[in-house]
């Protein structure tokens, strides 16, 4: 399987250890970074230098999660092939939303923003993901005896990430190459090129079984 990315498992492990240790350390040593539940009643709040997430923002996040959650999860899964990681990316995407509270022109802009954040977060995570190779989708399709689906997933999974993301957005989400270019911050010509090369690579892998609509 070709990946266009390498990985740094050591960095990942060290990073996670550091992350958890710092959280434990923060809990041990003081209240400064204490997390603050949204529902904290007045008068119970502790002094914090962390921005408070308003109920409105959380409500909006929940609404967006309900609308786009599964789509973003699939998109992240298409990068990471692992449900736990895809869920992490989905959560981080929503956290970015409540932290930045971006202003959108319309629903399409809103969705594109979420996809772009999820794409960037996913790509940054791919590198140290090599050993976490549990592919729940592959397992589920095998358990359901759907080899016809699992071999398509397997073929797409083998694509380099720059092709895979375009294939997913084009075929699954139905985005145009211009829209994909916006989401991935690429030139449209680059997206078209990646789409064509992705198709070529799929033809290479699937041979006569290839019949993606073009």
């Amino acid at each position: 399987m070709y990946r266009t990315e390498l990985y740094c498992e050591q960095g990942y492990v060290a990073g996670r250890i550091l992350f958890y240790l710092l959280q434990v350390f923060a809990a041990v040593t003081g209240k400064k970074n204490q997390e603050r539940p949204l529902s904290a009643a007045a008068g119970q709040s502790e002094k914090s230098d962390v921005a408070h997430i308003t109920p409105e923002t959380a409500e909006k996040a929940e609404q967006l999660l309900g609308i786009y959650g599964s789509q973003l999860l699939r998109f992240s899964y298409s990068y990471l092939h692992n449900m736990a990681d895809a869920e992490d990316i989905l959560q981080e995407t929503m956290i970015r939303f409540v932290q930045t509270q971006p202003v959108f022109e319309n629903a399409a802009h809103e969705k594109a923003w979420l996809f772009r954040v999820a794409a960037n977060l996913s790509k940054n995570r791919i590198d140290y993901n090599r050993l976490r190779d549990t592919d729940e989708l592959e397992e589920e399709l095998a358990a359901k005896d759907r080899q016809d689906l699992s071999y398509v997933w397997e073929a797409v999974r083998q694509l380099p990430v720059r092709y895979r993301e375009v294939i997913h957005l084009f075929y699954y989400e139905g985005y145009s190459t211009a829209e994909i270019a916006q989401i991935l911050a690429e030139k449209e010509a680059t997206v078209r090129s990646h789409l064509n090369r992705g198709r070529s690579r799929l033809k290479d892998i699937l041979k006569e079984a290839y019949d993606f609509e073009e």
Partner: protein, 232 residues
């Protein structure tokens, strides 16, 4: 049913469950600061730990930080790109640019070498059946140089060169056949099935190389292909 439909049906199996949605919202509500990472909200409330334990934790945190620094800066092939924190009150477009992951498409081998920071040795595509193929030159952030060949019939080949000796092929499949051949004094690992190989991996001590040809080739072709690099 087309492959598009099959891909859609396969991906439809990936769904956000109610439990997952609840977990995510708990994490979102507990999010703190800008540096959100992993599953937030796993550590809440006070934990009573002795002074000695605090010292151990502090030491462990410092050690982990040191390990992290070594990992990020000292290991070839690492492509962890730090994320830029999004602006707290930024516009939607500016906040979308909070994470960076870029591959640069280069015009030719000269530009690829320039971007990679070393002279990239280009194989002779004629030797492995890709004469006249369309070539894409890609430079990755950590110095990995890639040349992708796409032939008229749609078949592809991928050549990679990177600093260090670690396998840079990105091909982690298991193959029935793994052979070692000697090309101009360099030991080259060939991987494939039966007498047809799809991947060659080698190193000259300073750089790692790989050439992948998914359609597969016999050993003689691989010998010539690798020789076109090692003979330079």
């Amino acid at each position: 049913m087309t492959l598009k439909n099959k891909y859609e049906e396969a991906m439809d199996h990936v769904k956000m469950t109610d439990e997952m949605q609840a977990r995510i919202m708990t994490g979102v509500r507990n999010a703190q600061g800008k540096a959100a990472g992993g599953r937030s909200g796993e550590f809440r409330g006070h934990i009573h730990i002795s002074r000695n334990t605090r010292m151990i934790i502090t030491f462990a945190a410092v050690a982990a930080a040191a390990l992290l620094v070594v990992s990020v800066t000292g290991i070839p092939g690492n492509r962890v790109v730090p994320e830029q924190a999004g602006s707290q009150a930024g516009t939607a477009d500016s906040s979308m640019d909070q994470a960076v992951w870029s591959v640069t498409e280069c015009a030719d081998i000269g530009e690829l070498s320039e971007k990679a920071g070393y002279t990239v040795k280009e194989p002779d595509a004629d030797t492995f059946g890709f004469k006249g193929a369309v070539k894409s030159y890609l430079a990755y952030p950590d110095g990995l140089a890639e040349i992708e060949y796409t032939a008229d019939d749609g078949s592809t080949a991928i050549y990679r060169m990177s600093p260090g000796e670690e396998d840079n092929s990105g091909d982690y499949n298991s193959y029935d056949a793994v052979s070692q051949i000697n090309v101009n004094g360099t030991s080259v690992a060939l991987k494939g099935n039966g007498s047809i190989y799809v991947l060659a991996i080698w190193t000259d001590g300073s750089y790692a190389y790989s050439l992948g040809i998914p359609k597969g080739e016999g050993q003689e072709i691989w010998q010539k292909a690798v020789s076109s690099v090692t003979g330079k």
